[in-house]
């Protein structure tokens, strides 16, 4: 057999490993951010602002946007309510990770349209059908949130990356399915 499974063996060729993992696993479109040259070793951990507060705020914003869309058009409830609930859950989990007090008001928000915030970002905020934010706005917002969380998941420490990766995957799935 081949000399596999030598624990030390893999370390010797770590640089090779990197170049091989990429084509094998990461079918990345050319020119994406992560792979600017061979800067994979060590440059990513430079001090950067903690992305978690921004991700938590985005989660709350998405939930509010979905609530506003539901308030504007009740027929969107079945499509958007699960997303709204998920984004509130994301915000609560991120708050917890940040050691912030978790806002139980929003975490336990009722699922009726009455839960829609009164301060919606929708201009004019008329509540007749079609005048508030719609599926497209919610889709775009959650897609942007997915992208932000995915970026953060590339560099976060191990104890934080799991949650943020799950949030990224959840948002991406909604963006794909909406």
């Amino acid at each position: 057999m081949d000399p596999l499974h030598r624990p030390g063996g893999t370390r010797l060729t770590r640089r090779c490993v990197l170049t091989r993992v990429l084509p094998a696993l990461a079918a990345l479109p050319a020119g994406t951010t992560a792979l600017g040259g061979c800067s994979l070793l060590g440059q990513d951990n430079a001090r950067q602002p903690d992305p978690l507060p921004g991700l938590a705020d985005a989660a709350r914003d998405d939930a509010a946007l979905a609530a506003a869309a539901i308030a504007a058009d009740a027929s969107l409830r079945s499509r958007l309510e699960p997303l709204r609930a998920a984004r509130l859950a994301h915000a609560a989990a991120l708050d917890q990770l940040l050691g912030r007090p978790v806002n139980t008001d929003t975490a336990a928000a009722p699922t009726t349209a009455a839960a829609a915030p009164t301060t919606t970002p929708a201009p004019g905020s008329r509540s007749s059908r079609g005048s508030g934010p719609g599926v497209r706005e919610v889709h775009d917002a959650v897609a942007a949130s997915a992208s932000a969380a995915a970026d953060a998941a590339l560099t976060l420490p191990p104890d934080k990356v799991g949650l943020v990766a799950s949030i990224a995957a959840c948002c991406s799935a909604y963006a794909a399915l909406l």
């Binding site: 624990p7 060729t13 490993v17 990197l18 994979l40 998920a86 799991g162 799950s166 991406s172 799935a173």
Partner: protein, 158 residues
């Protein structure tokens, strides 16, 4: 054992173990789909075939990656024990929810056990595509919400 420098790139034994677990989950998923597909209706069968291809592709990619870094890829088991006997379309779809959920856990674990950016990106892509597949099967079986809120998280933990 000779020079035990901690691996800064993240492609160390912990990462390899996580990749092996992801491979095992992909093996199991391929097996589950091959069992389930015969019980599904025509439309769902087509979706299942597409999903099977996705799992085969991931399985092959992990196996190739492990081989290339000198780690013997784990083999598929001859058979797996579904948590519930598959007898019809509904139980077949439920099995696929289980398979996808297991894959989600394995892929999130790869992210948590690697600091290597490219590998994390690949694992996140796998986590994301598995979330979409999982959502579809959860919808088929009537599980709400269809999209899991924290894909890949251990039960009841974000």
């Amino acid at each position: 054992m000779s020079t035990a420098q901690p691996a800064r790139t993240g492609v160390d034994e912990v990462t390899i173990a996580a990749l092996q677990q992801a491979l095992a989950a992909e093996h199991a998923a391929v097996w589950c789909y091959s069992l389930a597909v015969a019980f599904l209706g025509a439309e769902q069968r087509a979706a299942a075939r597409t999903d099977t291809d996705a799992h085969r592709e991931l399985r092959n990619q992990i196996a190739n990656t492990l081989s290339s870094i000198g780690s013997q890829p784990v083999s598929a088991q001859p058979a797996y024990s579904p948590p519930e006997k598959v007898t019809d379309a509904a139980s077949a779809a439920r099995l696929l929810v289980v398979a996808e959920t297991d894959a989600l856990v394995a892929w999130r674990s790869v992210l948590e056990r690697s600091s290597e950016r490219a590998l994390r990106k690949a694992a996140l892509d796998a986590l994301t595509s598995a979330t979409v597949r999982c959502a579809r099967w959860r919808e088929v079986v009537g599980r709400e919400p269809a999209v899991p809120q924290f894909p890949g998280a251990p039960e009841a933990t974000p």
